[in-house]
Amino acid sequence: MERSAKRDVVVTLIVSAILIAVMPMLIGTYTLTVLVIYGMLGLSLGLIWGFGGILCFGQAAFFGLGAYVYAIAAVNIGESTLPMILAVLLPGAFAAVLGAVMFYGRLTDVYLGVITLVVTLILFKFINSTAGPQYVIGDARLGGFNGIPGFQTLNVPGDSGAYIWGDAYFYVCAVALVIVFLLVTWLLRSSFGRIAIGIRENETRMALIGYDVAARKTVLFAIGAAIAGLAGALFANWAEIVTPNLFSLGQSAEIIIWCIVGGLGTRLGPIVGAAGLAYLKFLLGQQSMIDNTLIMGLVLVIFVLFLPRGLVPAVGSLWHASVGRTARRRPANRRMRRARHG
């Protein structure tokens, strides 16, 4: 157990180091940065949905919240370190409150989906309507549908003149993703993660064994939101503007599609799905023959119908079958069906 954990970390580090070194030769770092950020966003939903069985229709709410918190704080403070920290903490705290309301109310399934969807909509509508000059937080005007442009972007901590941008910013994002990935790995290996998976499998059983199911789900939900918030803050730095579109239903939909396509119940799947589909979208955006949305929709329908487990688990089992070992059984794969009905 201890040894496999160490090997896991080493393999992750080596593979990601190679990827970080090689990928900029294939794709421009500007595009690559946003793929990495989307990968982190995908991972945040993959954690709570794939391992916690919480289907959140509003992961975009936390993403957007992170971006807005960063932008507002950066305008007021004029330095990026504290805003970054706030952008992780506030969405996490917000999710903790929201999660407590939902999970202590024993809401599950569709009802959970509706509430998270509704919260996203409330934020979207509210932010959209804040165009007037009376909507001000400190020095930051919320700006309605125009969003907030021109805030302090990421700088070297302590020196607000030393901006991190371009290639350097890509490396910051990539390293952040690797760190988050390792943290998620560690979390899932800890007893907290194992109990979370137990709750996903059978909530009643875990409650009867004596675990506080609602509290654990709330904490997991908050962790997922904090990761999404971090992704949001990084995105705000990349785009250099935040707009209400970050909260839109389309954004939420996309995150769910990434997870389905990549593969639920795996750590890698949502990242691969997010980066892959975002890149596909980027490529499709360069042609105008076929509408972009149409293809994303088709991808989702086809995956739900024909490959409901997603790419990563499918490739994994293909690999094991072709190599012909009696491979280690991958419990995550077997559980897929049920996980999606949590």
């Binding site: 809401l107 509408d291 949305t293 989702l300 329908v301």
Partner: protein
């Protein structure tokens, strides 16, 4: 006096439009337990069908009440055969697949009609009450919603087809044992539900500028109304549409339209938290 009449009409109108928006989804979700997230796009297509038909010279009421439901119903039929029938009983999967479908429809509509706003003018003129101008079309929507609810009740409760459909939804194995084909009945019910969505989209089309993404404006409201309504189809639809419509209009008049919308959404969250299985799990139990 005049203002109270205006407010009354506005409240009835808000409730009626919620009923219209949600009716199709209520049939599909309430009976078949399929959450059709492409519902908003079905309404959007109903609107486009109406506008296209009117553009071809069809009378506007025929276009709204006959052409649009038929067109959208047929599209629903195709969707049911191709996608949804493989996913019955898998709630989350149907939700995701229909979400994908909604994106497909948005894409298709963008390719066919372009990403511009189209619309038709309301076919009923407005009139004045005292110092206020009222949109005459609002009355049409109120009447249509009432007719729709009564017709829905009559069909489900009064006709043999309604009885068979309700029976199949409760115990499809028993219906099959009695010689009915659940597959066919599911197909027909989905057709019926889609046609209702198309009808609603068509009726509301003159009030909104139609763009391919306008379905998104409906889906959340419809979703919330139907889920909050709970297990009983018609009682749930009417009771939750009434409560949300009232909340929406009270806050719209007291503060502003945006706050009205937000109040509706907050009311939905509170309601679901208090009654997780919907209104009709506590009140009007066992009603249709």
């Amino acid at each position: 006096m005049d203002i109270s009449f205006v407010i009354l009409v506005e409240m009835l109108y808000a409730i009626a439009s919620l009923v219209l928006i949600s009716a199709g989804l209520a049939v599909v979700f309430g009976m078949m337990k399929v959450i059709n997230l492409a519902h908003g796009e079905f309404m959007m297509m109903g609107g486009y069908a109406t506008i296209t038909a009117v553009g071809l010279g069809v009378n506007v009421f025929i276009a709204m009440l006959i052409v649009a439901p038929l067109v959208v119903g047929l599209i629903g039929l195709v969707v049911e055969r191709l996608v949804i029938r493989h996913l019955y009983g898998r709630l989350v999967d149907t939700m995701l697949a229909t979400w994908g479908l909604s994106l497909v429809f948005i894409g298709l509509a963008t390719m066919i009609f372009g990403n511009t706003t189209t619309g038709i003018s309301t076919p009923i003129p407005g009139f004045t009450v005292g110092a206020y101008q009222i949109n005459g079309y609002n009355f049409f929507i109120i009447v249509m919603a009432v007719v729709l609810v009564i017709a829905l009740y009559a069909v489900l409760k009064g006709t043999r087809a309604g009885l068979i459909a309700r029976g199949t939804m409760q115990r499809s194995d028993m219906a099959a044992a009695l010689g009915y084909s659940p597959d066919r009945i599911y197909m027909a019910t989905f057709f019926f539900g889609s046609a209702l969505s198309g009808l609603a989209g068509a009726i509301l089309a003159p009030l909104v500028g139609l763009v391919p993404t306008s379905g998104g404006a409906y889906i959340a409201k419809a979703f919330i109304t139907v889920i909050a309504g709970g297990p009983s189809l018609i009682a749930g639809l009417v009771s939750s549409a009434t409560s949300f419509g009232l909340v929406n209009q009270i806050f719209t008049f007291a503060v502003s339209p945006v706050i009205g919308e937000v109040a509706l959404l907050i009311a939905a969250v509170i309601l679901l938290r208090a009654m997780p299985q919907g209104i009709t799990s506590r009140f009007f139990k066992g009603k249709l």
